[in-house]
């Protein structure tokens, strides 16, 4: 008995010392820098999903195509984790200088990175590649500040309301058009509701960011015109225009547009209601096109949302805006080989081949090349292209991406508060003002 205990103890101690030894041996070196790997310069691409092959298929395919084309010369590897972890990780890596060479950033967080000097100015890249600058067509303007061009649009987001024509037909409701007003929309919601479908699917649990269709509403109440003066303190969020705007959200909610359990379903669940024909409309962007083609097919339609008659601001607004930026680590500028690889990758990423890959995956690239188009069976994408055909102008950035994260969260919270009946419009707007005052 005694010897057995002793033996056990010994083995435990030995394992402990071994572990300590391993620790010591392992703690040195292993710097996460771009390294020559069989001659190829490897660069890391930090992305906001854990499984890019499934969850960001287009980007994955572009990277594969790039790696194939430059086999043995350059290589791009993903540093992948889910959005929440990615956001934490980038902050931590910024603090100890281990950021990947290229990485995706939330648009509301990118300016802070730029201020802290960890991002490379990409003005040179654009001036060296005039064709890409032309293809971007101004999309890059959203990511400029005093430090220069701190980022480039990852993709291009087209946001609005998708609708299921079948359900509209069954309810005897006409499809929405570019001239449909808010009053028409309310009537539409009521009729759809009577036909026993959820008129407009939306979920607020952990997905307050999923308010894309209302970016258009904000834009039509003069967001772009007023945001600068609000942020500088001249005006308040709680102003006449936005109060009128939030009143409309309340009206839509009171007409019964949303699922009853919107507080306990997430964006994914809300989308599922639309996919299965239980909801007539769903607000989102082009990233869901492939899913709708599969589930709804030719019955899918796309609409920018209602026009408002009680305001003088421009109503002919589309919502084709840059998505979050991808940015380059400032340290890249110090290493010519790495810089060359990064620039080659960016050239490829914003080139025509990548745009083609993008279209195949039903994603609008940030670039515009005349030869690239959707095929006939990409119903959702064609519906969007048709809406874009009106030729309306888009704001430089989506309204929710023009403010810092704390204000952005407050904006989301306030909008859903009004939609869920927890806040009155004025109260909701006060909360955004409050968040803005604390963010300074």
């Amino acid at each position: 008995m005694k010897t057995r205990t002793l033996k056990r103890l010994l083995s435990v101690v030995m394992a402990g010392t071994m572990a300590a030894g391993l620790l010591a041996g392992c703690s040195g070196g292993k710097k996460e820098e771009a390294k020559a790997d069989g001659g190829a310069t490897t660069i890391k691409f930090g992305i906001h999903v854990a499984n890019p092959q499934e969850q960001e298929a287009v980007t994955y395919n572009i990277v594969q195509a790039f790696n194939e084309k430059y086999d043995g010369k350059y290589k791009v590897e993903f540093e992948a984790s889910d959005k929440e972890s990615h956001s934490k990780n980038m902050k931590l890596e910024a603090s100890d200088g281990t950021l990947p060479q290229i990485f995706w950033l939330d648009a509301s967080e990118a300016p802070e990175y730029s201020d802290s000097g960890v991002l490379m100015d990409l003005s040179d890249f654009l001036s060296e590649n005039a064709d890409i600058q032309t293809a971007l067509g101004g999309m890059e303007n959203a990511f400029q500040d005093d430090n220069g061009q701190y980022g480039l649009p990852y993709q291009c987001n087209v946001q609005g309301i998708f609708y299921n024509k079948d359900l509209f037909d069954k309810a005897g409701v006409e499809y929405p058009t570019n001239d449909t007003t808010y009053e028409d929309f309310i009537g539409m919601i009521k009729k759809l509701k009577e036909s026993d479908v959820t008129p407009l699917s939306i979920g607020s649990k952990n997905s307050a960011y999923a308010m894309w269709e209302f970016n258009e509403t904000l834009a039509r109440y003069g967001w772009a015109e007023n945001i600068d003066s609000i942020l500088s303190g001249e005006k308040k969020f709680n102003n006449e225009d936005l109060t009128a705007c939030f009143e409309k959200l309340k009206g839509i909610a009171e007409a019964g547009a949303f699922p009853e359990n919107m507080a306990t379903i997430e964006y994914f669940d809300a989308k599922q209601l639309f996919n299965e024909g239980k909801a007539a409309m769903f607000g989102t962007g082009q990233w869901d096109c492939a899913e709708f083609d599969e589930n709804i097919g030719e019955n899918v339609g796309f609409w920018w949302g209602p026009k408002f008659t009680d305001t003088d601001y421009n109503q002919d607004i589309a919502m084709k805006v840059p998505s979050a930026p991808i940015v380059v680590n400032a340290e890249v500028a110090d290493d010519d080989a790495v810089k060359e690889a990064v620039f080659e990758f960016l050239k490829f990423y914003y080139g025509e081949d990548a745009a083609k890959i993008s279209y195949e995956g039903s994603i609008f690239p940030a670039t515009n090349y005349s030869d690239v188009a959707a095929t006939d069976t990409q119903y959702s994408m064609n519906a969007m292209l048709e809406a874009l055909g009106a030729g309306w102008e888009s704001p430089e950035a989506a309204p929710d991406l023009t403010v810092v994260s704390a204000v952005q969260e407050a904006l989301y919270n306030s909008m859903f508060g009004v939609m869920q009946g927890t806040y009155e419009p004025a109260e909701a707007l006060d909360k955004i003002d409050e968040a803005l005052s604390y963010s300074k």
Partner: protein
């Protein structure tokens, strides 16, 4: 000994409680055989067919061998370190004599305090401390895991060791035991049940731990089991079937492990503590 009526009543109660507790667990098994849209749109129904697609998907997406291996590696090393150090310190706090009893309470209170801390507060600072020590990859997880277990282990161990009669020590001293003999040959065997409990809790904690793992691990080859779920939830897509199926696969070894150790608690106890 126990009359029949009472026995039946106890059985009924036992079964009832067990069923109530276990129901959601069974449900999870059921969910794992349903397609994504069945899960979302008809959550209450039974699956149409015994659909193993979710499992096939889980195996395709996740490298279970590496996930299990990494988790086991971190688990074993952390466990060994934390058991050794907390057993020693708890022995001092529970059975050694101090001139000033306040010192003991002070150290004990200091060590217990950590129970009140929620792990995400530690994430950023611990990351920076790890960087300062040059700890990377899986090794970056070991000390945080050891550290977070200290409070819990101290609470249980000190409580338990205190309750063992002091006569044992005196008898051992008279027999001429050294301090090591006393700790390892007399007290340790008697503490088996509580150590088994601690092992179970510590292993389960490490097995399911997500916040530290998600922040400290960068290389996909270092990922631990708890990170598996994130492979099924993207920014725009979610695969509930995949999440549930991979969770079932993560749980199975835990169940086996618990089954093994649960017996140990009982055995360790019935072996009789008052033998020394």
């Amino acid at each position: 000994m126990i009359n029949k009526k009472k026995k039946t009543a106890m059985y009924i109660l036992m079964v009832l409680i067990t069923l109530l507790v276990v129901f959601p667990f069974i449900w999870m098994l059921v969910l794992s055989f349903k397609t994504n849209s069945e899960i979302l749109s008809a959550p209450l129904s039974l699956p149409n067919s015994l659909n193993v697609e979710n499992y096939r998907n889980a195996f395709k997406t996740l490298d279970f061998l590496s996930l299990y291996g990494n988790t086991l590696f971190v688990c074993v090393i952390s466990l060994v370190i934390e058991l050794i150090i907390t057993f020693f310190s708890s022995f001092v706090l529970s059975r050694m004599e101090f001139k000033n009893r306040k010192v003991v309470s002070l150290i004990y209170g200091f060590l217990i305090m950590g129970l009140s801390i929620s792990p995400f507060i530690l994430l950023f600072p611990v990351y920076k401390i790890n960087v300062a020590f040059g700890l990377r990859g899986l090794f970056a997880l070991i000390f945080p895991y050891v550290a977070t277990s200290i409070s819990f282990n101290t609470l249980l161990l000190v409580g338990y060791l205190k309750s063992l009669p002091t006569e044992i020590d005196e008898a051992a001293v008279i027999d001429g035991c050294s301090i090591w003999d006393l700790m390892l040959k007399v007290i340790l065997p008697m503490a088996k049940p509580v150590i088994a409990t601690i092992v179970i809790f510590n292993v389960l904690y490490i097995w399911n731990e997500y916040p530290f793992a998600s922040v400290m691990l960068r290389d996909i080859s270092d990922y631990t089991l708890s990170m598996g779920a994130s492979f099924f939830k993207g920014t725009y897509t979610v695969d509930y079937g995949g999440i549930v199926a991979s969770s079932v696969l993560i749980i199975i070894p835990e169940l086996i492990f618990y089954g093994l150790f649960q017996k140990n608690i009982v055995e360790g106890m019935t072996a009789g503590a008052v033998k020394g």
